[in-house]
Symmetry: C2
């Protein structure tokens, strides 16, 4: 059945008409609200590129763990009230935490210290708002709080957030500072917190939480543009078996400090004839770190906002995009979302808190964290190697290695934020991040130490069934959950170790890990043609349902349909096991056209964006549309990409079909929009799909420019007719990293009909480890 028949264009189809780039460039096209509805889990608030502070409104935190999924980023576009503005948020995470140090303005005499019920205005300090009076752009967010009678504006620096509140001059102005509020809350999450008012009016404090990361400490320092006229530090903790002795001050008012597990502060400023500005810095290290971070970024709201805009203008300007308006907005926003994590997590003086909960010193680099590596090794990190300075990429590697050195397990981060490990998802995907960076020529880190960290991580038997993996060649499902996914992901990670080891002339390690790179075969069932979980006795676990998706099952957030394609480094080897090109193409088609109407995946988070068994809302599918290229059918990849882009992305709050996952969903769109995608980081190749831009220009870290042009791009010409690189025909369906880095022009000729002859032969196909070396 011709694929075209399935391409029912949605109402909001991309109008692929020629259009000039708008004034203001890429920055003006960013819409921070994209992804704040649906399950995109992005936030609309203020952040600078890779900023430690994400100052953003929380519309609701009154939920417990999984019930908070809708509010993973604090803000949900369809909520009617804002509870306050807190300083830390993940961009697009599936699981969540953060929402630290919530501040909310309150006008008038009565100040309620509970957020109240969104359905009952006036029942607490939360306030209704309207999207008509809300605006957001990179580094800036503003909203009018109806019940609070306050115009609120937010901006951010690297380690600071700045609030500006315009109260009515006739209103007594207050702030509520609520240390109880948190994303993904549950009883007992807050282990300890404290507040301290300094004689100069500065407030410092801290909170230690047992959330996604256990025993995470966050300190802050807060200064106000107007003097405090009064304050109350209130503990609402109930049933404290032992309260100790009473410190200075009676009751909650006028005390200089308070500590406990449920603190909220009322801060009074009297009547103000000018806006109240609040400068806040955070630190994972200590209060002195927060104070130093605050001092390191001086200036008032407007000055900080100007710097934030300048930073975004510079970073977003690294890609010029000429595309139809919806696509231009989506790509600009994707670029914006890809520049939020990994976030800076170290202080301005270089100190940072590591996975051992101890404070370390970063010498010569900036410690970065928020590593959602299972997601971001795929396209987010490869994107950063193209559009961020070598310094940023080497910082990332040094931060990963510094974390390994401080790890109680001596292994690299798995899913880390603010230096703290959460043990979420599988694999040791810091490994491909480091290998890919090194192989691309990124230096500025100790490569031998990095390789050592990679090897230690890959050999750590207690982690995720690695003991069995090393002994048997696969993770045994009767001893370790998600064994099938783990085996294939480990094999890919191992291949990147081998690549880097060889580059460092460590033939011994290269041999060891090249061997392990083939272990994916040990979990492939040639009878069914699927990657399947094996038991320690060597048999595949039965019964087997290739459509089942369950936590703790044979696969990780997926099933056999998605995971059977995960051999990024040796698709040719996989395809041989699957019966060759024709069988593979048929099977890929079967995947995209699978009838899932009778399946229910609603119990599984992040299983969204279904096109048959292709699930774009989650990462295991992300490379799959590009696999037709490996089977000699690039035109089929081109069709699938159009199908995915048109159905999975919209320039609207609900415009992401799944969690943005710290930039991975966005990086996928950005690469795909430019016309190529890094299917196998570490291979130094990008698989060519089809562009969705008329023209785009990348300013590379080395200062050169690489331009993509799509001649004739419009809705009626979705196929690649021919490709030239610097004017010379490109007869292969992949691009080499060095070709991009050399600068130049990649030009596509788009056409209405598929070109079934372009780049179909064996030598035109992208890298596969078991194919003859090119």
């Amino acid at each position: 059945m011709p694929l075209r028949a399935t391409l029912a264009l949605p109402a909001l189809a991309l109008a692929l008409a020629a259009a000039a780039p708008p004034p203001g460039g890429t920055l003006a096209d960013v819409d921070p609200f994209i992804g704040t509805g649906g399950q995109g889990h992005t936030f609309p608030g203020a952040v600078v590129p890779f900023g430690m502070v994400q100052l953003s409104p929380d519309t609701d935190t009154a939920c417990v763990i999984r019930a908070c999924y809708d509010h993973a980023a604090g803000y949900r576009h369809d909520d009617p009230t804002i509870q306050g503005f807190s300083h830390t948020h993940f961009s697009g995470a599936g699981h969540s935490d953060l929402g630290d140090i919530l501040v909310m303005p309150v006008s008038g005499e009565a100040v309620l210290l509970e957020p109240g019920d969104a359905a009952r205005p006036g029942s607490g300090y939360r306030s209704r708002f309207s999207h008509d009076e809300e605006t957001a752009s990179p580094g800036y967010y503003a909203v009018t709080l109806a019940d609070a009678r306050v115009r609120a504006e937010m901006t951010a620096g690297t380690r600071i957030g700045v609030h500006r509140y315009r109260f009515r001059p006739s209103d007594a102005a207050h702030l509520v500072l609520d240390l109880r509020s948190s994303l993904y809350d549950y009883p007992g999450k807050i282990l300890w917190s404290s507040l301290r008012l300094h004689p100069d009016g500065t407030i410092t404090g801290m909170r230690e939480t047992r959330g996604w990361a256990p025993a995470r400490k966050l300190f802050f320092a807060m200064r106000f543009s107007a003097p405090l006229t009064g304050h109350a530090f209130v503990s609402t903790e109930e049933d404290v078996p032992y309260k100790g002795f009473q410190g200075p001050g009676r009751g909650s008012d006028a005390v200089a400090e308070r500590a406990g597990r449920a603190l909220v502060a009322r801060l009074d400023f009297g009547r103000l004839d000018r806006p109240l500005e609040v400068r806040v810095a955070i630190s994972s290290v200590d209060a002195a770190g927060a104070l130093a971070n605050l001092a390191a970024e001086p200036g008032d709201f407007d000055a900080v906002r100007a710097r934030a805009q300048e930073a975004w203008s510079r970073e977003l300007g690294r890609i010029e995009i000429d595309a139809p308006t919806p696509m231009r907005r989506m790509l600009a926003t994707a670029l914006y979302h890809s520049l939020i994590a990994p976030s800076i997590a170290g202080d301005s003086d270089g100190r940072f808190r590591g996975p051992d909960d101890q404070v370390h010193q970063a010498d010569g680099f900036t410690f970065r964290s928020t590593f959602s590596l299972w997601d971001t090794f795929r396209a987010e990190h490869p994107l950063l190697t193209l559009i961020q300075p070598e310094r940023v990429n080497s910082d990332i590697v040094r931060s990963l290695v510094a974390s390994q050195e401080a790890s109680p397990h001596s292994i690299l981060p798995v899913w880390q934020f603010q230096g703290r490990e959460t043990w979420t998802m599988i694999g040791y995907h810091a490994v491909p991040v480091i290998a890919d960076a090194y192989l691309k020529g990124i230096r500025g880190f100790d490569a031998a130490a990095a390789l050592d960290a990679m090897v230690k991580s890959a050999r750590y038997a207690p982690y995720g069934g690695l003991g069995d993996y090393m002994a048997r060649g696969y993770v045994a499902i009767d001893r370790e959950p998600e064994a099938a996914s783990k085996t294939v992901e480990y094999a890919y990670d191992d291949w990147t170790i081998a690549r880097m080891a060889r580059a460092l002339s460590r033939g011994d390690l290269a041999a060891e890990f090249d061997k392990r790179a083939g272990y994916w075969r040990n979990t492939f069932d040639t009878r069914t043609g699927f990657v399947r979980a094996r038991k320690a006795d060597g048999t595949f676990r039965a019964p087997f349902d290739p459509t089942a998706i369950n936590y703790g099952s044979d696969y990780t957030e997926g099933n056999a349909w998605q995971y059977s394609w995960f051999v990024p480094h040796d698709q040719a080897g996989l395809f041989r096991l699957m019966g060759g090109d024709r069988a593979v193409i048929a099977r890929l088609d079967r995947m995209f056209e699978f009838d899932t109407s009778k399946l229910d995946y609603s119990h599984a988070e992040d299983i969204a964006g279904l096109i048959g068994q292709y699930i774009h809302g989650n990462e295991p599918s992300h490379h799959v549309a590009y696999l037709y290229n490996y089977a000699g059918a690039p035109w089929r990849t081109q069709e699938r990409l159009r199908q995915i882009v048109e159905s999975q992305y919209k320039p609207t709050p609900d415009g992401l079909s799944g969690n943005d996952d710290l930039g991975q969903m966005s990086a996928w769109l950005l690469f795909t929009g430019l016309g190529f995608y890094p299917v196998a980081p570490g291979s130094l190749e990008y698989v060519i799909g089809r562009p969705f831009v008329h023209r785009a220009a990348l300013t590379l870290p080395n200062g050169k420019r690489f331009t993509i042009v799509a001649d004739g791009l419009d809705d009626s010409r979705p196929y690649v007719g021919a490709v030239t690189l610097n004017g010379r025909p490109l007869a292969r369906s992949f691009l080499r990293h060095k070709e991009i880095m050399a600068g130049g022009e990649l030009r596509f000729r788009m056409q209405a009909a598929p070109n079934r002859r372009w780049a179909t032969g064996p030598s035109a196909r992208p890298y596969s480890a078991s194919s003859p070396p090119r």
Copy 2:
């Protein structure tokens, strides 16, 4: 009625017979078990002078808060079992905490991870023991653990403790490391804890507790002389609403780290043919601090023990004591107990955790804490100025001022340990400690900064009714509890500020605080002749019962009988209000002879050691016996001292009549034994009582020697007949600090009958602020 009639000598009366000093000097006379029974609250374990580690057996921690009073120091001499050996203990505290990082050896195959029931041997890891197989000396403790089949020995360095366990060679050797065990426990006390096994076999960890001091963090590092053959890190926490994601390792065995609120570890060593030594260091800063502290004090058990003994020999050798055996033992032990606190609390690299819970750097001094100031300003600190190097005393001042600088309230410590404030007891008695040190010529600190810290503390309105005190001249009982005690104690503290201000040529401050020094008059009721609590309206609170002792009442751990004598700096002024010498003497006699048989003070902690309304077990009475001197009747003081010493001290575990209070009870005995006592620190005078030694020699910080000789001392000659200083008659009943510091000999001629003429005239009496200056 002649006083003598009341002096019924107890069975264990002091045999005041001449005896030669024993071999081994003062050290050999120390008995660390004195005070471990009754309510002395001392511990028998290993500590070096002012050591950060107090490694001592805990016989029971299964109690909650006030029920733990008997076990304030962990060990109770009449308990049948030992639960384990923990690394931190107060010496003689009334309230309590600590008992950190409990280690217990276990032999054999079955290792129970709960302490079990003392009444049911074998029900847990605790073990029976016998005092016959137990020994303790300064820096060393040993016991045979019957159920564990282990000989256990403990020694200590400054920041380390070293354990030595002799298992039977045929037994599998284990240790239980229980981070759940704590003194003064209660549900929820442990906020967080963690354990980490390093590849080299070192274990580090931490515990954060919400005990007497809120959010106190203690880190440790632990190394073993034999390799670990296995381990389990177990969390026994129940009802954890959210556990996060699983880290490497399944279950509790072989994991490299574990964190939570209820951790216990089983450590396996297999069969050992030599003793197992365990070196442990602690730090309030971080794990790196603990590791550095461990490295800073190298050596095995015997080496560390030898250093500890050497240190004690040096410090205890500063006073040579020739006295009858029981008194010699009591005085030697009192000296030992007076050299435990203030404990070192900063790391070997100078870092320390301050009252703001932040880490600070001590530049050029060693940070010390464990300041039980309401107790110790009286005699403990004055003792240290006589027998410790200037460096130790200036360290104390610098630590107090550093704490003030880091205090969220900008005030000096009240009751602080490990840098953390507990807000226990009343007053700002760091002030007399600093003033007394400065006026005695101790330098090495910034005197202006110290004075500033003193003034800030005395002017901090939110603390303990100081706002009212400054505005009205007294603390108002209807707005602040214990107002009578606070008013008189503040007035004394203020007088010491005035003294120091004058010495620093700050006449403005001297005038301000001289005025405040007279505020004690505002709370003295001339009608009843008692210090009484006044209300804000100026009236004394009624009804008034001078014998009532209650928490939160008009007085602090005492009543009008004790507190009406608290004007250390102006007893003459007080005596005039009381009606003159004769009335005062009668009233003192009435106090000592008060019939308390119908009163019940059992509800009040630390109200013990009653001689009428003189309550030697608690501090407000401590100076009272010396007050006869101020009324011209030194011979009556001499009688009372004998009465007190004979009834309140014994060289036995139950030999202290009340909590030793971090050395104050001991310092009282030591001064009294030498024949003089610092009634008013800051006055530079010691009030002469009567000696209980044949001879004693102090090696002073300046290297000079001051000798006390009591000619003719025995039971039949309890009175001072005459006194000479360096051979010249001393006709006054006080001694000047500079006279001691000049070195020389103070010689008493003891006699059977009182000398009612010696030092009775006005000019022979000790300092009183309102008397003409001498």
